[in-house]
Symmetry: C2
Subunit: 214 residues, 2 copies
Amino acid sequence: MKSPAPPRKRNPGESRQRILDAAARHFGEAGFDGARVDVIARTARINKQLLYHYFGNKDALFTHVLERAYQQLREQESALNLDGLPADEAILALVNFTWKFYLSHPDFIRLLNSENQMQARHLKRSRRIAAINAQHLKIYRALIARGQREKTVRGDLDPLQLSINIASLGFFYLMNRHTLSTVFKSDLNSERMRRKRLAVMRDVIGRWIRADRK
Amino acid sequence: MKSPAPPRKRNPGESRQRILDAAARHFGEAGFDGARVDVIARTARINKQLLYHYFGNKDALFTHVLERAYQQLREQESALNLDGLPADEAILALVNFTWKFYLSHPDFIRLLNSENQMQARHLKRSRRIAAINAQHLKIYRALIARGQREKTVRGDLDPLQLSINIASLGFFYLMNRHTLSTVFKSDLNSERMRRKRLAVMRDVIGRWIRADRK
DNA sequence: GCGTATACTAACCAACCAGTTGGTTATAAC
DNA sequence: GTTATAACCAACTGGTTGGTTAGTATACGC
């Protein structure tokens, strides 16, 4: 015979947080369609209806999780102090930062992947997402401009393309490491291969952005 | 009152093909978890049991679809005749080929994405996948070796990293164009932006692979 | 110390969905 | 023609799942 669960102390802030944490993990592992609301509720150790009480439905919960993930990325990026570095080295520092963020937030790339499989249907309706990402391209643009004054960075770099290049070289490697490792029979997730990958990415970006020496 | 469907002419080859085509489209659109076996059967205009008759279950069907997609890619890649080109230009021709393949086979990247979300659980059990991809790295390796003899390509290129770089710059752009377009408010899927992307990718790879001029 | 908004819960439900049952019929081999 | 095999089908099943109902418990304003 099961004794009824003792009534829990109320703590709305923490309950909300626990739901978001559990949702980020489970949505990341399983993707939107593969994730189960019941699993999230159980992991967060709250009742399923509390989840619906706070977030309305599965889609809205996913949107919150995505927004929070982007916010973490952009806040950390904005907190970087790159003023002491020459612009070309600062850009390489962004390569390192982006790579390390992906490595330390494995849910982030998987969440984004799932969202892209759905053609960004959640982000498209988000009213917060533009503000969250507002600083990103400005940082890149400013660095490129400074590099041109310093003559360490070539004159025709597009900040959007630079940002996409830096993201893609790391994101694709980590997201697709499962199929790549299988197809090419080599463990891309080993410490050695990960270190090598970062070196390659820095080399690729470094050679692309630098002003040509005459 | 509905008249019973007239008995269909038997055509096992075509029925199988229609199932695979419908499955590739629907798995691509919706991902493995989002896809519905009933939808595939209806689109293929066959009975659901025929699908189970041929493929056993949803996972096995997905595996077949994936293998076929890889096979198409690798067959076309192997059919390329790059012998007439200097090695550095031949590598850039592979950049073009890869990009065009992704563009003309939108299901391919989406299928792979879904498979990676599931940590390659289908490919890991496939016995055909290694053979299908056997030529790929050999092509890259041979081109790098020739480029070194011709002195157009630098001496320390790793074929696996080169292949991953070429794949990632295009794959990430196309797969993530939905979130990227939303976040950065610019239509990455426009003809103009797609042309620009190919130019950037050729530039990035070109600068990375070439032997340094003294 | 009373009223009410909200944090929280158990039990429930209808739609959905992968896979099965239990067949019929076309085709090919002999 | 007879028989074996495989192509093909409609209807069903049982477990699952997003979301709901109907309520109790607690904190807080007054």
